[in-house]
Amino acid sequence: MQRIGVFVCHCGSNIAATVDVKRVVETVKKEQGVVHAEDYPYMCSEAGQALIAAAIKEKNLGGIVVCSCSPRMHEATFRKAAERAGLNPYMVEIANIREHCSWIHKDMEEATEKAVILARAAIAKVHLNSHLQPGESLVTKRALVIGGGIAGIQTALDIAEAGYEVDIVEKTPSIGGRMSQLDKTFPTLDCSACILTPKMVDAAAHEKINLYTYSEVESVSGFVGNFSVDIRKKARFVDMNKCTGCGLCQEKCPSKKAKSEFNRGLNTRSAIYTPFAQAIPNVPVIDTESCVKMKTGKCGLCEKVCQAGAIDYSQKDEIITEKYGAIVVATGFDTINLDQYGEYAYNESPDVITSLELERVMNAAGPTKGHLERLSDGKAPKEIVFIQCVGSRCDDHRGKPYCSKICCMYTAKHAMLIRDKYPDVNVTVFYIDVRTPGKNFDEFYRRAVEEYGVNYIKGQVGKVVPQPDGSLLVQGSDLLDGKQIKMRADMVVLATAIEPEAGVRKIATMLTASIDTNNFLTEAHPKLRPVESPTAGVFLSGVCQGPKDIPETVSQAGAAAVKVIGLLAKDKLLTNPCTAESDTLLCNGCSVCQNVCPYGAIGYEDKEVNDHGIRETRRVAVVNSALCQGCGACTVACPSGAMDLKGFSNRQILAEVDAICR
């Protein structure tokens, strides 16, 4: 029987307003083994922790129960406090009487009764706790960044600057991400390529950074400090070491009808291509779908013209296995598919485009060489209508419930740039709300209205109807004037909602990182741990975590890097001691447990046993505690009842069940 102390927290009034803490203290005092119980306004405060430490020492406590907020919040805090007072930290249990009690119940009687029961369950469990010792594991001092947009580039640069090796895996042929597709950037209107290209060059040139472009993560195993990752380097059919980037192959390639992904399908590219002029690495890839040689065996022109002899049609995908201590997800976003939004005529008229397409149209390297023109007939538009919130803040199944955050600002940017360069073009913006919090953001929007005379109308557009004369009829409402609007436009631009890149679900599954209902990766704590995933060793950078603009992306990228550096700076990590353990006397070596273990943590050894006086050698299961993650799958699978989990043992859980059902 342990000597147990119970500490009931008021959490200010968070707990005490609904749970009669004094009564909890008085009631638990009657529980077996409880030699001390007290309450305090804030147990997690320094004074609260000191109180616990003092009681541990004075009363010689062998185990403690803290009735407080969720263990996900303060279990670590109280374990440390216990350890400082000389008690094994695993002799601490938490009864969650805030999130699971006071916050969800209104009736004091009921809540108090429940708090007592939760405390009893924790007391019953702690009686059976044992003195666990965490093991140690080494840290591989190398980081992996998945995604080479501005988020991934910045994170990699910051980690590399601290002296650690970083690999970037980027699925497209070049790093740069969406930012490389943008023309100018708010709120300063500097040219996107001018600020991004130097960073891309820095990343490529950095001695600590290694780029795997045109590559994807194939599988991930291991755990914090010790990940092992298979990377598929897709065949480029061009030798990276030989290619000089002269571009002759692209010029001579006869197959020029493939849609340019970089220009959002607005124009075409050759079968051998680099996505854009400043691509890094400046080494083309052959797209097998459109290559004549790959399809018919004839052609081979690029091989003939390449003076460096870099073309290699026999190249195969390559799988590279690397070890990493930390992994950063920076997979970014795409705009949503507009098939469901028939009312805007996006699929009907080439003159209805998304904002990202407009970025390409306005860019000098884009499909129209930077001239603002209608994609249907090449004529200069006189009347342009922008529609905001297309698919954002949408409560039906077609769109996204969240605000995409960047659209108000980039629409103001587009409107302003157009009015600046083409003062005779009229620009109208339909909006639901204009949201411009951010440094110099509201000033930016007001300039669009006040200086550049952009016509902002509060209201939604119900329909865009292509007219026989090639123009577009925009039907909407003006909510402030309370009237219907019908206007003619030459071009309509849709500020389309953004969503996480489609492949992120696969990545999250491989990393066992959680993802929310909108496919954004979840942070370990929305306020206090915004760049860490709940999975140890996995970090988040950029829009994959939530909508954000470039300044925010870069700040978050730096924050993620700091967390990675903090991890890589450690030589050893303490491992979770709550691992499985098999009882050699009960185990019959059947191998059932090995088959269910997702981490390959179970092996078999021949061991000398003394079974009631019979000495023999038996093949028994042995758990490698460095690999075991403590899921418990094996404990239930074991037909002999030999396998158990430390910290969540059968007896501990049964004791909790008994206490609750008492």
């Binding site: 969720s70 969800i104 209104k106 209902t517 699978a637 859980i653």
Partner: protein
């Protein structure tokens, strides 16, 4: 006239640490209530829940047992919830055969972001158990007072 005492069921909810326990925490911080009859036991993963725990709960007088885990594909340990799902399907049909109706047992996937779902599921489950009434089939009579 004697007032009939309202039936308050005993309900045990096993929640995996990574998703559903966090979902329950989110229900709490979002103040999304459900009846106090539900008591949560934290386990590392849904695959840690041994059928023995559930049998014991019924034996000791529980009226309903619910097991919550991460959504399929999202288990922190990749595959734990698949094991749990298979084991529970078997166990629940066996329990049903023994007279512990299917409605008294439930498996539900709740993510860390689904505070609303957690609360809704618990409300529904408690309603269901209340409608089924007290569990008499597996209860060990020596455990009743």
């Amino acid at each position: 006239m004697p007032v009939e005492k309202e039936f308050r069921p005993k309900i045990v909810a096993f929640c995996c640490n990574w998703c559903s326990y966090a979902g329950a925490d989110l229900a709490g911080s979002s103040r999304l209530g459900y009846p106090a009859d539900v008591k949560i036991i934290r386990v590392p993963c849904s695959c840690r829940v041994n059928p023995m725990f559930i049998l014991r709960a019924f034996e000791k007088g529980a009226d309903g047992v619910i097991l919550c885990g991460c959504h399929p594909g999202d288990c922190h340990y990749s595959t734990g919830n698949y094991y749990a799902r298979r084991r529970m399907t078997l166990l629940f049909s066996l329990l049903d055969y023994l007279g512990v109706e299917e409605g008294r047992t439930r498996v539900e996937w709740v993510s860390a972001a689904e505070g609303v779902k957690f609360s809704t599921v618990m409300n529904e489950f408690v309603d269901k158990i209340r409608s089924l009434g007290e569990n008499v089939r597996l209860g060990d009579l020596r455990c009743k007072n």
